[in-house]
Amino acid sequence: MNDIFKYRAPTSRAELFGLLASHGEGAKILAGGTDLLVDIRSGLVHPELVINLKKVQDFSGLVWSQSEGLIIGPATTVNDVLHDARVREYYPLLADCALTIASHQVRNRATVIGNIVHASPGADMAPGLLCLGARVRIASQRGEREVCLKDFFTGVKRTVLRHDEIVEAITVPPDTAKSRGAYRKLKRIDGHDLALVSVAVTNTGSAVRVGIGAAAPTPLLVEGLSHQDPADVVVAAALGVARPISDLRCSKEYREYMIEVFVRRLLEEVR
């Protein structure tokens, strides 16, 4: 790590938002650090100031309530979600997604919100959260706003987040709790690897949704399907929005083929 930067660990929201507002693009948020510190080392980002948000009070919370659903905080780690009894009861799909991320010691540090904010097309938490109708609560010194997760991503590693803003929470609504859901991630090896392509499917009892990763510049959501739609219709809808590329990991055609295979298998599981 050659870059020299300053480090601050604010303990209040006001202090955090003040630092972000005064440092502009020179400041970077450090949550789990599993993307940021690697990007700094690789020379992809050159922050003047790194702001650790893990010391801000209440940021590590993972809260569930019947009225509001699940609220994931900025410092909630992937393993916090993976091992949470309420997640396993109400949104087991999220635990399935969490288990596919990297390795055990990376999951101990990496945060769920970091996985979303980094906005990799293959972000493993994205297909499940998209299917479950997650919303993103954004906060800054200027106030708060909320967007649907499907409107949060704007491109490869790009989101609607401005430089002075953070994602303060990802909320998963109570009406998708206990939906049947399943996730498949295609990898080159059984262990720690990025997705070649990934698919999540949920069935609320009436609506079927499909989330797709690594098949477009952003994670994708296919909505408007009924639980009575035949598999061919769901496959056609998924392939209608997917626009994968060929890269060093596999070809466009293989990705399309595996999206179809996964959609068919997952539909059987959630029927």
Partner: protein, 163 residues
């Protein structure tokens, strides 16, 4: 930045460069060189240490972040020259060849056994999936974990296939 951290039972109070990683701090400042630097990107697990009781890649943590934390490194395993039970099981099962991955492997196994004293082969593989070994082979390492958790005998040692 001035910070205080507990490493292997000793409290260290130090001025630390804010851009240093925990890995660099352990190796270059505290001279605890048992923790290895492999990929510096969270892929290989050679730098795995325990941070507040959980395995973490020291290459992806800033030293400044561990202010007030408790760290355990491979140097906490052997006491007065006596290998820990995990280290002894690694030696007994030929689970060390070049040794570069061993420090990180032992730390991952330490956390695994704290949560799960009798892991299955599948659970062991999940526990060490963040630790790459390029020469010993995972078979002997998995057998060492089965051994230290009382699931292997002299008769069954070396019998694990197709891991």
């Amino acid at each position: 930045m001035w910070m205080s951290v507990e490493v292997n039972g000793h409290i260290y109070e130090r001025e630390v460069a804010e851009h240093w990683t925990l890995l660099r701090f352990l190796r270059e400042d505290l001279e605890l060189t048992g923790t290895k630097d492999g990929c510096s990107a969270g892929e290989c697990g050679a730098c795995t240490v325990m941070l507040n009781g959980e395995a973490a890649n020291a290459c992806m943590v800033l030293a400044a972040e561990v202010d007030g934390a408790t760290i355990e490194t491979i140097e906490s395993e052997a006491v007065n020259g006596e290998l820990s039970e995990i280290q002894a099981a690694f030696a007994r099962n030929y689970a060390v060849q070049c040794g570069y991955c061993t420090a990180g492997m032992v730390m991952s196994v330490r956390e695994l056994l704290r949560h799960n004293p009798k892991p299955t082969v599948a659970e062991i593989k999940e526990g060490i999936e963040g630790n790459l070994c390029r020469c010993t082979g995972y078979q002997q390492i998995i057998e060492a974990v089965l051994d230290v958790s009382g699931q292997i005998t002299n008769e069954t040692r070396g019998g694990l296939r197709y891991v």
